[in-house]
């Protein structure tokens, strides 16, 4: 996806007005749904049935809470991807940062010899720190050894996954579990539930606040201005005196910290233990990257796109249960929407 995705995001970035971009997004969504309906027809399923199951599964009754719960990691990962993307930098290593964050949080919550009430915030902070440091490592590689970030972020994912996988297989393994996992975190060190009887926890608030903060930083601060200008023309930013190296470092640190925090929240708020592969299996980082690309790196757009994806995915689960259409279709839809958007951008450009 590498340079093509950068090109796509750059093409989508200078959307001329919110109205036009909403129209384009709506059109692409319709086309995506139409494609999925076409697939349903081919396998002999009534597309109306499929669509209603999909939509109901996303928003009907208690399903709303499922969608909101799923928004937490998706919004978090979308913002993690959008922060560097706004400057034209692609962080393909969110998975590694996510896993390290979750693993660090589990270790702190399980083993740090301090009261549980202190362990919880420390686990969150150290989870974010682990992810952030790992993101920064990739940036340092680019600054001092000229390893392209696209490569280093992506390839550093595997050592991170490998290390955490080893930890829960050997030294930290809870022997009674079937799958390699750490011990269960005691209730006092877990993130509190937000609403009883729902899967929502306080992590949702943390991510919402951080996402809002990123939106404000992007719009109203000199730091955000420098990031935006770099995304529009890196050479112009350099010419104007933006310290690109330092900026890369902090962008990657922030991106990694957000991903690490999402991992920590998932471990502390819903899984209660670090299980090998459990954080990456739902592919939040992939969907988050797509949401960020969809918005051309603009953080508010990325948040909206992530919530939309959360709804589509939750609906997809319900659809799978009720009409037996595999939820892989949601990934097909997400990809189609991006492709249709990119395609329109290209043809529109050529015609002009």
């Amino acid at each position: 996806m590498s340079s093509a995705s950068v090109a796509i995001s750059m093409r989508l970035a200078p959307w001329l007005g919110p109205l036009r971009s909403m129209l384009r997004l709506g059109g692409s969504l319709l086309l995506g749904f139409a494609a999925c309906a076409g697939i349903a027809l081919c396998v002999g399923i009534d597309p109306r049935l499929m669509l209603s199951a999909w939509l109901k599964g996303a928003v009907e009754g208690p399903q709303v809470f499922e969608t909101v719960a799923r928004s937490m990691p998706l919004v978090g990962m979308a913002v993690a991807a959008a922060v560097p993307l706004r400057a034209g930098i692609v962080n393909l290593g969110a998975d590694g940062q996510l896993v390290l964050g979750g693993c660090a949080a589990a270790i702190v919550a399980l083993y740090l010899p301090v009261p549980a009430a202190v362990r919880l915030p420390m686990a969150l902070v150290l989870g974010a720190t682990a992810g952030g440091a790992y993101g920064m490592l990739a940036a340092l590689g680019e600054l001092y050894a000229r390893v392209p970030l696209l490569l280093s972020t992506w390839l550093l994912t595997y050592p991170a996954k490998g290390l955490c996988g080893y930890l829960v297989r050997a030294p930290l393994r809870d022997p009674i579990t079937a799958w390699p996992s750490s011990y269960r975190i005691e209730p006092a060190a877990r993130l509190p539930q937000l609403l009883h009887g729902t899967p929502l926890n306080d992590g949702l608030i943390i991510i919402a606040v951080l996402a809002m903060l990123v939106v404000l930083l992007d719009r109203y601060t000199a730091v955000g201005y420098e990031i935006r200008m770099r995304g529009l023309n890196q050479r112009f930013a350099l010419y104007g005196g933006v310290a690109l190296g330092r900026q890369t470092l902090w962008l990657m640190a922030a991106s990694g910290a957000l991903a690490g925090l999402v991992g920590a929240i998932m471990v502390l708020g819903s899984q209660y233990r670090f299980t090998d592969g459990a954080l990456t299996a739902p592919q939040y980082s992939w969907s988050g990257m797509l949401a960020a690309l969809l918005a051309g790196g603009e953080p508010l757009g990325a948040v909206v796109a992530a919530i939309l994806f959360a709804a589509l995915q939750t609906g997809g689960f319900a659809m799978e249960r009720s009409v037996e259409i595999p939820r892989v279709l949601t990934m097909v839809l997400e990809s189609m929407v991006i492709l249709f958007l990119a395609m329109r951008g290209a043809t529109w450009r050529r015609l002009r």
Partner: protein, 502 residues
């Protein structure tokens, strides 16, 4: 009657008349030089001849027939081939594979490799081009690659061979051997067009010379009957600009000192041991044909490119190893040559573009928080002060004309009120009205005590504005003049040959 004729060629680009009814006529079997300064229209003319661009009016005749050139393929079919400055070769393929590409002798669906190789070997021998048909292009030196480009053209039965600045990348012995090849091709009946701004080359290899200036033919010369002075005169002409009002200003303290600076770019030394200084209230003009190290010198001064050796001082601070931001704080401002790619962000609004550099301080920002209203106000002020024609300050600057975008860049850089201003090709591609405005602004800044470094390929501009003039040739300072001592002919000689007229 002439063999190749380009008649009344007219080509207009937005804001520029690149070719204004140009006539070119070339005899068969001659080497014909097309000369002119950057932007004189010679590249456009050649692009039209080779089918890369369509003329708005006029036509091309070859051997008595009018040609329809809609694409480079049409031109190649007519036997018109161009060797570009950057070669169009497959690095990973061999010489003969490159030569026969798209015109391969075949055997059924396969390439008849043996026959292709034989054909290439025979052709090379026939034209006395020493080249190994089995060598990989990646392993060949530049001079041989150029020979391969020529061989490629010969294989396509070229009748007219256009060489675009062919010696720019060659060493002197390679140049000599290229000239021999050109003469031999001409003797064999091929018509060779040499595009160049180098005087010695045109004088030593061509039969006739056509000189372009500002899109028009300014002279048609027979090489045997002309000399350097006449050509320089035709290329540069007299200044058509209104004389600039200049008051006498006594230069102040040294604001910028460059000491024995060398810069490496793309594997070669682009700038060698350049020393110069700029004082407050003084315009130092850096003259030179484009590509003689000026861009690299300026980028190294600004910090966009690293210096290999030497030092740069702004005021009393040594900034040699400092970032662009620190250099700007120390007192540099910079009108970059490439306004669209470097000095602005096309997809950002005028407000955003004008805020760059002012975005982290009052009145636009307080404690890191930017005020949209203050940004707008700031942009409005600069737009009004510099009479930038724009619908609103929120318009994207990618939609501005060249002259207006340049005014926007100049407005922002002058607003810094930095002690040193570097103005690189400040009037390139800008209409006459804007040129006069920009010149007046530069002079006014000088009178206010600014030290200005003016880089320009336009001799007339250098002469009109500068107090002192430095000529760069092949990355080094070839000569320095005080304004009173300088003349176009004297400067031109150093620009084109690196030495005085002899």
């Amino acid at each position: 009657m002439a063999y190749l004729e380009m008649i009344e060629i007219l080509k207009r680009f937005p804001g520029v008349l690149a070719n204004d009814r140009v006539n070119l006529s070339v005899e068969r079997g001659t080497v014909h030089a097309v000369m002119g300064e950057n932007g004189a229209g010679k590249s456009t003319l050649m692009a039209i001849l080779c089918g890369l661009q369509a003329a708005d009016d006029g036509h091309v005749r070859l051997a008595g027939g009018t040609l329809l050139l809609r694409s480079p393929l049409d031109a190649i079919d007519q036997g018109i081939n161009m060797v570009h400055q950057s070669f169009k070769l497959f690095d990973s393929l061999t010489v003969w594979e490159n030569v026969v590409y798209q015109r391969e002798p075949t055997w059924g669906p396969f390439i008849h490799a043996r026959r292709a190789r034989q054909e290439v070997t025979r052709l090379a021998a026939e034209h006395d081009l020493a080249i190994d048909p089995d060598a990989r292009v990646a392993a060949l030196p530049v001079g041989v690659r150029q020979r391969l480009e020529i061989l490629k053209a010969l294989y396509r039965r070229t009748r007219v061979l256009v060489l675009d600045e062919p010696t720019a990348v060659l060493t002197p012995p390679e140049v000599a051997s290229l000239f021999q090849v050109m003469r031999r091709l001409a003797a064999a009946g091929c018509t060779v067009l040499l595009v160049t701004h180098k005087l010695d080359e045109a004088l030593s290899v061509s039969d006739r010379i056509t000189v372009l200036r500002a899109g028009r033919v300014s002279a048609e010369l027979v090489t045997a009957n002309t000399g350097p002075a006449e050509i320089i005169q035709a290329m540069t002409g007299r200044s058509s600009l209104r004389p600039v009002n200049r008051s006498q200003v006594t230069p102040g303290a040294v604001a910028l000192a460059v000491n024995r600076l060398s810069v490496d770019a793309a594997g070669h030394r682009a700038v060698t041991n350049v020393s110069l200084e700029g004082r407050g209230g003084e315009i130092v003009g850096i003259a030179g044909v484009a590509g003689n190290g000026q861009s690299e010198l300026i980028e190294a001064i600004m910090g966009l490119q690293a210096a290999a050796t030497g030092s740069i001082q702004v005021g009393s601070r040594d900034v040699t190893r400092r970032s662009v931001a620190e250099r700007r704080r120390a007192g540099l401002s910079y009108i970059a040559e490439d306004r669209a790619r470097t000095a602005s962000a096309a997809a950002a609004s005028a407000t955003d573009n004008l805020a760059m550099g002012f975005h982290a301080r009052a009145p636009i920002a307080r404690r890191g928080l930017m005020s949209r209203a203050a940004m707008r106000l700031w942009a409005r002020r600069l737009i009004d002060a510099f009479d930038i024609r724009i619908r609103s300050e929120t318009e994207l600057v990618g939609r501005l004309s060249g002259g207006n975008l340049q005014k926007l860049v100049i407005a922002r850089e002058l607003a810094h009120q930095a002690p040193v201003l570097i103005a690189e090709q400040p009037t390139r591609g800008v209409d006459v009205g804007a040129i006069e405005f920009i010149h007046a602004e530069l002079i006014a800044e000088r009178d206010r005590g600014r030290a200005i470094l003016l880089v320009s390929a336009e001799l007339s501009e250098i002469l009109a504005l500068s107090d002192r003039i430095v000529v760069m040739y092949r990355g080094a300072v070839a000569a320095q003049f005080r304004r009173e001592e300088a003349s176009e002919v004297a400067l031109g000689a150093y620009m084109m040959r690196g030495r005085a007229l002899s």
